[in-house]
Amino acid sequence: MLISYYGRLADSIGMAQEECALPGGIATAGALRGWLAERRGGYADLTDAKIRIAADDRFVEDVADIANAAQIAFLPPVGGG
């Protein structure tokens, strides 16, 4: 699963993308937030409800099943054009 971090998240996490293999128990978007945030520092922002999640280029709620998604994006509040 390719995970992308947009905007300020890429700065706080230290990278814009990473390839992750999800452990078996992590099936929803919300669970993915928690799992990533626990792994190491800089990821804590991901549990902020203002950070939206897109799975395969569609916005999803925290309860959505994302186990089979190829791409996940974490999107902080937008900054305007």
């Binding site: 947009y6 897109a54 994006a73």
Partner: protein, 154 residues
């Protein structure tokens, strides 16, 4: 016809207006807005902006919002050209254009598009000044401007 273009290429506002005006001859009224990177900000002298978009969601969200908008339904045509990546101070970030039969509709269409782009469009913006850099979120004024359209045409 490509109404929305998001790309790291520099924007030539005059060329865009020329192409749009040629297509819209006889509409009566054409309004364009050009937004440039300001050379100073509360953070100091601005070197450049970095604009990030999402490869799919940015364009599709703009398209959905504008296609459904009662404000834009009064326009005969409209265009959005938005630059991404590193944009030096003084260069153009965004150009919008709207054509309509009467000038009020053209002004409102361009105004509405800009208010949307400044608050809801999926862009992340980092301001790189000489000494500092910071991610920017919309100003309170931007949200106030955007809310003017909430009851438009209802």
């Amino acid at each position: 016809m490509q109404r929305i273009r998001i790309s790291p290429d520099p924007i030539d506002p005059a060329a865009e207006l020329e192409a749009f005006t040629r297509k819209s001859a006889g509409s009566g009224a054409i309004v364009s807005f050009t937004g440039q990177v300001r050379s100073s900000s509360p953070g100091g002298k601005v070197v450049k902006l970095h604009l990030q978009s999402h490869p799919v969601l940015t364009q599709s969200a703009i398209c959905d919002a504008f296609t459904d908008s009662p404000v834009l339904s009064s326009a005969t045509d409209w265009r959005v050209v938005h630059r991404t990546g590193d944009i030096p101070a003084g260069e153009t970030i965004v150009l919008v254009a709207a054509a309509a039969d009467h000038r009020r509709a053209a002004f409102e269409a361009a105004d509405f598009m800009m208010d949307y782009l400044k608050t809801e469009a999926i862009f992340w913006k980092k301001e790189i000044c000489e000494q500092t850099s910071a991610w920017i979120e919309p100003r309170a004024q931007d949200y106030a401007d955007r809310s003017r359209w909430d009851n438009h045409g209802r």
